[in-house]
Symmetry: C2
Subunit: 399 residues, 2 copies
C-alpha cells in the first residue's frame, strides 16, 4: 500500500512513517518543519536530540534498505498539496500535520488564529486535493479525545444514538473541546464528515488520547532515528513532565486537584492503530471515528505511578490549574473499534515507566528547568512566555 | 443602549441598524462592503437599487433626526476590530458580518477556504476584542438553523438533554450542516461557547431561519433607505426567486422533490428578535441559543403559495437538486425562547406575498434571467459560474 504521512517529521509522524515502511508499505513523508520552528519560538528543545529529516531518512535506508520519499511544503499552500497528492498518489494519507498543542493555541490571539487557520485550511486543502485527484484515497486523520471534553455521560466513538420525544437518530457525538487547538480539531471533524457526504470520500478520524513513550522497534535501530521527547510547559505532555521532574529531583507538578482524567496510549500502540486503520479502509462515502486510546488515568494517578516507579525519592505538589477544566469529573469512553480490528495494547506498566525514566536519565544534562513551568493561562487573553515576555504585541490581561 | 451592528450595510444589517436607531438606541454600523463586492464578482445586482452606506446614513438622519456612526473596515483585521470596539464601546454587538451564502461557499476551493477563514477569523478577532476591552459586552451572533441539518428527531434550541446508559447530561445539540458556509457557522458556535466559558463573555447565538421580505417600517420612509432584494442563484433565497419567476412569467424552479423543509421568518420579525436579544442579555459566562424562525415550510409548499398569491398564471417545474440534501425528511424544531421574550410573529400570508410580489413588479425591468439558474453543484469541487466560466483557476471536475 502507498501511504503518505503528513507531518512525518514530528513526534508521532516520524515513527509512524518508519513503522509503515518497515511493514512493507511504500511511504512518503510531508513536512514544513513548523514543529522545529515552534522550538525556536519557545526557546526549548526535544530532550532527546533529533537529526534532520533528510539525514534520518538516509540512515533509515542504510539500516533497513528501505526508501522513504520526502516532500517539503505547507498544507496551507493549496497547489503544493494538490501536486503532492497527484505525484505520490497514495492509497492512504495519514494526517498528523497540524499545530497540536493546546497551550500554544492559548498563548494569545495570534496563536489562536494561527492554530485554527493552519489546521482548518490545511485539512480543507487536503480534502479538495483528494476529491480532485482520486476520491478513493483513504484519509486517516488524527483527531483527539479532547474533542469530546468531559461530558457527564459515556463517550461513544464519534456518534451516539439519541432517543428524543419518541424518535431515534444516530447523530454526531456532541463536542465540548477545551482549547482553541481542540476546537480546530472539532472544526476539522465537521468539515471531513461533510466532504465524505458530498464527494464520497472515505475517512477514518482517529480521536487519539495522550501518547507516552519515545522508543519504537524502528527508532531504536540507530541513535539518529530517535523521535522527539517534549517535556516543556507548552508542547510537553504530562507523563513526560513527571518523568523529567522525578529524574532531576523536582517535585511532580499536578495542576489543580489532579482528578482530570484522560485516555492514554503507548507510542507503539499509535503505530499499530494507524496501520490497522490503513489496512481496513472504510467504504466510499463513509466517515468513521475510532477512539484511539487504551486506558484512562487521572493526572494524580499518573503522578503516583511515576513516584512508585522511580527508584529514588520523588514527591508530588499541586499548582493552580492554568487551564479552565473540571478538576474532578465523570469519565468513561468507548474504545472497542480498534480492539475489534486486532489491536493488542501495551498497557502502562512499571516496566514502561522505567524505560521512559531511563530515556530521561540518559539525557538529564539537557533538561531545561525553566521550560517546565506552565506559562499559558486559559483565563487570560495573552500570556507572557518566559522566553518572549518582552515582545508580546498585546498587553497581558486578565480579562 | 449602545449597539454596534457588524455587517450593517447588508440585507438584514441595514434594516436592523435603522430599527434599533429608531427605537432609541445609539447605533454604529461596521462594514467592509464585501457583499457589494460579491455582486461585482457574480455580475448580479440587488433587484431593488440600494444607495451607498454613507448616503443612506445621511438620508436616515434627515428623515429621523437620528445619527448612525459608521466604521469601514474588515473583521479579519484584528487591530481594526480592537480599535472599533474600544472607540464605540457598545453594550451589545450584533454580528451579521459573515459571508452568508451556501452556494458561494461551494463554488470552488478558494471560495470554501475564503468563507471559513473570513467567518471564523472575524469572529475570533471579535471575541478577543470583547474579552480585552470589556467582557460584559453582549455578543448577539447570527447563526443559522442550517447548523442543525435535518436530524430525524426534534431540533432543540442549541442544547439537548441526553440520557445514555443510565446517566444524563445537557449537551450541545449535534450539528450536521450542509455546506462549507453552514460549517463555518458551526465552527463559530463552538468557538463562542468556549470563549464564554473561559473568559466569562455573554453571547446569544441566533440560529436564524430563511428570511423573506424587503420592506420594514423604517426603510419605507424614503426610497434611498431601501435594503437589498436578492433573487440570483448564489445569494438569492427561495421565496424571492419564486416571486421573481412568477412576475416575469417563468416557471417556479423547485430543486428536486421540493420536500426540503426549513424554518422561515418575516424580515420584520428579524428586527424584533435582534432587539429582544439585545434588551434581555444573558448572564456573564452564559452562551445561549435562540432558534429564530416562526414557521416551517417545504419548498414545494412555498412554490404553491406563490402560485396561489400571484394574480396571473404561474406554474411549478422541478429541476435536479444541485445540493446534496434530503429531499424528503422529518422536520420539527423548537422556537419558543423568543416567543417567551415577547415576539409576536408576522406569519406568511397572502398579504405578505402580495407585498413581496409588488416589490418585484415595481422593479421587473431590472430582472436578469441568466442570474436565476442554479450554477453551483455540491458534488463538484469546482462549478463554472455563468459570469466567470472562463476564469476559474481549477478545472471543473465531478470528483
Amino acid at each position: 500500500m502507498r501511504i503518505l504521512v503528513l507531518g512525518g517529521d514530528g513526534y508521532l509522524g516520524w515513527p509512524v512513517a518508519l513503522h509503515l515502511s518497515g511493514r512493507g508499505h511504500e511511504v512518503g513523508v510531508v513536512d514544513n518543519f513548523a514543529r522545529r520552528q515552534y522550538d525556536f519560538e519557545m526557546g526549548v528543545d526535544s530532550l532527546v536530540p533529533i537529526t534532520h529529516l533528510q539525514h534520518r531518512v538516509r540512515v533509515w535506508e542504510e539500516v533497513s534498505g528501505l526508501r522513504v520519499a520526502t516532500y517539503v511544503g505547507d498544507l496551507t499552500d493549496a497547489p503544493f498539496v494538490h501536486r503532492t497528492i497527484k505525484e505520490f498518489h497514495p492509497d492512504a494519507v495519514v494526517h498528523f500535520a497540524e499545530q497540536r498543542s493546546a497551550p500554544y493555541s492559548m498563548i494569545d490571539q495570534n496563536h489562536a488564529v494561527y492554530t485554527q487557520v493552519n489546521n482548518v485550511v490545511g485539512t480543507l486543502n487536503l480534502l479538495y486535493a483528494i476529491a480532485d485527484v482520486d476520491p478513493s484515497i483513504h484519509l486517516v486523520k488524527l483527531g483527539t479525545m479532547g474533542e469530546y471534553g468531559t461530558p457527564n455521560i459515556d463517550i461513544e466513538e464519534g456518534f451516539i444514538e439519541i432517543t428524543h420525544r419518541g424518535r431515534t437518530d444516530l447523530l454526531p457525538y456532541p463536542k465540548q473541546p477545551g482549547s482553541f487547538y481542540h476546537l480546530s480539531k472539532v472544526h476539522d471533524s465537521h468539515n471531513i464528515m461533510f466532504a465524505c457526504r458530498i464527494w464520497g470520500l472515505r475517512s477514518t478520524d482517529l480521536n487519539q488520547g495522550i501518547v507516552y513513550g519515545q522508543e519504537t522497534p524502528e527508532t531504536v535501530l540507530h541513535p539518529d532515528l530517535a523521535t522527539r521527547f517534549d517535556y516543556d510547559g507548552v508542547f510537553g505532555t504530562v507523563l513526560n513532565r513527571f518523568c523529567v521532574q522525578a529524574v532531576i529531583g523536582h517535585p511532580l507538578t499536578v495542576y489543580g486537584k489532579g482528578g482530570q482524567t484522560r485516555g492514554m496510549l503507548d507510542i507503539r500502540d499509535t503505530l499499530a492503530c494507524v496501520e490497522l486503520a490503513c489496512n481496513n479502509a472504510p467504504e466510499p462515502g463513509e466517515y468513521r471515528v475510532f477512539n484511539q486510546f487504551t486506558e484512562s488515568f487521572s493526572v494524580q494517578q499518573l503522578a503516583e505511578m511515576v513516584v512508585d516507579a522511580y527508584p529514588g525519592n520523588a514527591e508530588v505538589v499541586h499548582l493552580e490549574d492554568p487551564r479552565v477544566e473540571k478538576e474532578e469529573h465523570y469519565y468513561r469512553a468507548a474504545h472497542t473499534k480498534l480492539l475489534d480490528l486486532g489491536l493488542v495494547p501495551h498497557l502502562l506498566s512499571t516496566r514502561t515507566l522505567s524505560a521512559l525514566l531511563s530515556v530521561v536519565d540518559r539525557h538529564r544534562d539537557r533538561v531545561d528547568l525553566t521550560a517546565i513551568q506552565p506559562t499559558v493561562k486559559w483565563r487570560s487573553t495573552a500570556s507572557a512566555l518566559p522566553t518572549s515576555g518582552g515582545v508580546l504585541e498585546t498587553e497581558p490581561s486578565d480579562a
